[in-house]
């Protein structure tokens, strides 16, 4: 390996403790408060405002990936009849239920209720149904219709009507009530964290960029898991200040930044630093990505439930090809990228199946080349290291040329 090193962001050192406390709290507070397992795109603001502890199986899947436990847990789930083709986050979670001893943290604390929102994928609906059957726990599916073009009033009204159904569901199964003033407070905190997160991501526009996509992937846990809390706001204020300091000093995430790239899809958690390290050798920095932007949308509107419905229904993964391509084009232009790399993620059809066409569209519109590499977000078995390395090498040579 080259002697080049990323500059480590000091604020990120706070994360293990912050996230550790989150998991610890869920483990012990579950004796006094109801626990909800929820998807990354679920309206956590309502859950928090009702005093229910949110736990994120997807975050847990990423954790299993980073801790090199995903392969084993996937195999446990496969031995129980779940196909090799299924989402590795789902299989980490289902596998951890079957074999808690092989699971990081011993698995997640058992839920009182399950809440899945299909704005990110249909996978979560099937995954949570399997959980509901296995655990015999009630499930609420928040159905946010896909938008091939613009959001429709009918779709938003449907999503909002279901939030009222969700509140009744949660009240019935937890005995907790939703208080409007608490919801407003949590939503304000959520907005503040999302705003900070968006500002942090935009700092990547500086040359050199003070951050690399790997930093964003490491730093994103609180915006997903602690959205709506003071801890998330404090963490991102501190992170933003550190990054602003870098910008002021003209200091980049890489010692030398020669190429600026955009990343598409979820990280390859099981190879995170090693994978991005290959680009470090070429002095290439991932100045932006599409995934972490999913939590940067700020809720607008007077009626809280309609604001939530519109925001969550409108997330990029719930949008059509044209929207997704234009999002990528904008990132390439706004961040002055020389190219982009797309992770064809074996676990994630909604994210991946558009990529071949998006790649052509973005190259046509911006003139910069794109690379598609095959891997999986958590399961190392779908990753052919040498093949990926060769493709990266060839791609970087075209940029050099």
């Amino acid at each position: 390996m080259a002697e080049l090193r990323y500059r480590r962001l000091q604020t990120l050192n706070r994360l293990p403790r912050l996230m550790g406390n989150h998991y610890l709290a869920a483990r012990y507070l579950r004796y006094v408060r109801p626990v909800a397992w929820i998807t990354s795109g679920a309206p956590v603001e309502i859950i928090r405002a009702m005093g229910i502890l949110p736990v994120y199986p997807e975050n847990y899947g990423a954790l299993c990936g980073s801790r090199q436990a995903a392969g084993t847990l996937c195999q446990v789930a496969e031995a129980r009849g779940y196909s090799r083709e299924l989402c590795s986050y789902a299989k980490c979670n289902l596998g951890s239920l079957a074999e808690p001893r092989q699971a990081p943290l011993g698995g997640l604390p058992r839920p009182t209720v399950l809440v899945a929102c299909n704005n990110i994928c249909g996978t979560v609906t099937k995954w949570y149904q399997a959980l509901a059957r296995d655990l015999r726990v009630p499930l609420f599916l928040w159905d946010t219709p896909f938008s091939p073009g613009e959001l429709t009033d009918g779709g938003v009204a449907y999503a909002a009507a279901q939030l009222r159904e969700m509140v009744r569901f949660l009240e019935r199964h937890t005995g907790h009530k939703l208080h409007q003033d608490r919801l407003n407070r949590v939503m304000d905190k959520s907005r503040e964290a999302s705003r900070l997160w968006s500002e942090i991501r935009l700092l990547g526009r500086h040359r050199p960029s003070p951050l690399n996509a790997s930093d964003l992937f490491i730093a994103m846990a609180p915006i997903v898991v602690l959205r709506g809390t003071d801890q998330a706001i404090d963490f991102y204020r501190e992170l933003k200040a550190e990054l602003a300091g870098r910008v002021a000093k003209g200091e980049g995430a890489l010692p030398v930044e020669r190429y600026r790239l955009v990343w598409d899809n979820i990280a390859i958690w099981h190879k995170l630093l090693r994978f991005y390290g290959q680009f470090l050798d070429h002095r290439a920095c991932f100045v932006a990505d599409t995934y972490t932007g999913g939590w940067g949308t700020v809720m607008e509107g007077d009626d809280p439930l309609t604001a939530l419905a519109r925001t969550y229904t409108g997330v990029f993964l719930n949008r059509g090809l044209a929207y997704r391509a234009s999002q990528m084009v904008e990132l390439v232009r706004d961040f002055g990228a020389h190219g982009f790399v797309m992770h064809a993620n074996r676990s994630c059809k909604p994210y991946t199946l558009f990529q071949y066409d998006i790649r052509r569209m973005v190259t046509e519109q911006t003139g910069v080349p794109g690379l598609v590499i095959e891997a999986d977000m958590a399961d190392p078995r779908s990753y052919a290291e040498e093949a990926v390395k060769t493709r990266i090498q060839a791609f970087m040579e075209t940029l050099d040329g």
Binding site: R80, G81, Y82, S83, E85, L86, C87, A90, N118, C121, G122, T123, T125, K126, W127, Q129, A130, A132, R133, P138, L139, L141, D143, P145, F146, P148, T152, G154, G155, A157, Y158, A161, Q162, E165, G320, L321, A322, A344, R346, K349, P350, T352, L353, F354, Y356, D357, M361
Partner: protein, 387 residues
């Protein structure tokens, strides 16, 4: 026998259409100067298309051209979707005046955008069904979505879909379902006489042949079969199966079952019983009637209820039909089926029904291997049955 000869002729007309459905429908379109609107599985309300004056045409894995899709879809998207896009990419669907793609899974959710981008048709719509069917909000939303689709269809064909016209279309399609169910009943009570392949082909042909004509053919067929019914030769020794999956393709599977003396008593395919079970009300608001029919369809991996009644549905189906076993035909890479499978298997096996799961591909399949596995399963069932 004269009856048998006549039967052969009627059956031949169904079969002929499926030899080349694209050729058939294009010729029909030219001769009758009508618009043809294609649809992909599953659950697209053909009644609405019919009421708009167009002919609904099901694109249901008319095989060939899978590699054409490689530039647009990963190889791990299912063959049903890859095959359909492959047809479009070869220009074989350019005759369509419109296309409706329902959102039933993550692959169909993305397919519309890709299709529209690479092979745009004059008119294309997504049918955005509610993914939950338990709560009151689903029905309100679905009625609205059907209303949106109706307005768009009216723009496509330039004809207003009046309540009366829609009721007439509903009646026509109900009649088709009634006839298909009668035919199914005949098949179940006379196992092995016309065969699984024939019966499933007839169901599939309903998605191709204009419904008025299909109804006529079915009536002729049923009349002929009723003449035969005197014989009532229920074949001894045939194995009774219940099948489960999204689609029953590739059709050769049915030949394998025919060859080895197995008869399909029931299924939950979107191109089988889910297609022909349940009618829409012919009185009252026809849009509400379509919504209600959709919500009350038999269980399906893509829109399950909170009660997960699919497992009990399947186990009961097997029980009611005194099935010897359950055969799961799962499209390879079909995520909803892959998630449901462990639960479904447990449900039927704990009810005492052995099961086999095979992964299918609507084309390009290694049939030899498939036949060996199915044959071994049937032999096992036969061994059990005689114990």
């Amino acid at each position: 026998m004269a009856v048998n000869q006549y039967l052969g002729e009627v059956l031949h007309r169904f079969d002929k259409v499926l030899e080349d459905p694209l050729e058939f429908i294009q010729q029909y379109k030219t001769e009758n100067r009508v618009k043809v609107i294609g649809w992909l599985p599953a659950d697209v309300p053909e009644e609405l298309i019919h009421a708009s004056g167009a002919i609904p045409f099901g694109i249901i894995g008319h095989s060939g051209g899978y590699s054409w899709a490689d530039a647009h879809l990963q190889t791990w998207a299912c063959s049903l979707v890859r095959g359909s896009l492959g047809l479009a990419l070869q220009g074989k669907l350019a005759f369509l005046d419109g296309l409706i793609i329902p959102h039933i899974c993550d692959t169909t959710r993305n397919l519309g955008g890709i299709w529209k981008h690479v092979r745009p048709l004059p008119w294309m719509e997504n049918y955005l069904l509610p993914r939950q069917v338990d709560r009151p909000s689903a029905r309100t939303y679905l009625t609205g979505e059907l209303g949106r689709l109706k307005a768009r269809l009216e723009q496509c064909t330039g004809r207003e879909i009046t309540a009366r016209k829609l009721q007439e279309s509903i009646a026509l399609f109900n009649q088709n379902r009634v006839l298909l169910r009668r035919l199914w009943q005949w098949h179940v009570s006379h196992p092995g006489v016309i065969g699984n392949r024939v019966i499933y082909n007839i169901i599939k042909s309903a998605m191709v042949i204009p419904r008025e004509e299909h109804n006529q053919l079915l009536m002729q067929l049923l009349e002929t079969l009723d003449h035969m019914a005197g014989g009532e030769e229920v074949e001894e020794g045939c194995l009774r199966l219940v099948l489960s999956g999204k689609v029953w393709d590739p059709p050769e599977i049915m030949n394998i079952l025919d060859k080895h003396g197995a008869v399909v008593m029931a299924d939950d395919f979107t191109t089988g019983q889910r297609y022909l079970a349940g009618d829409a009300a012919e009185t009252g608001d026809p849009m509400e009637a379509l919504a209600l029919r959709q919500i009350n369809r038999i269980p399906f991996a893509c829109f399950p209820t909170a009660r997960y009644d699919r497992r009990s549905f399947l186990a009961e189906l097997a029980g009611k039909n005194r099935a010897h076993g359950v055969l799961f035909l799962h499209l390879k890479y079909c995520e909803p089926e892959n998630f449901d499978y462990p639960d479904m298997r447990a449900a039927v096996e704990s009810a005492g029904f052995p099961s086999l799961r095979v992964e299918t591909d609507v084309g390009n399949l290694s049939l030899g291997q498939l036949e060996t596995r199915i044959e071994a399963f049937l032999e096992m069932l036969r061994g059990r049955g005689t114990e």
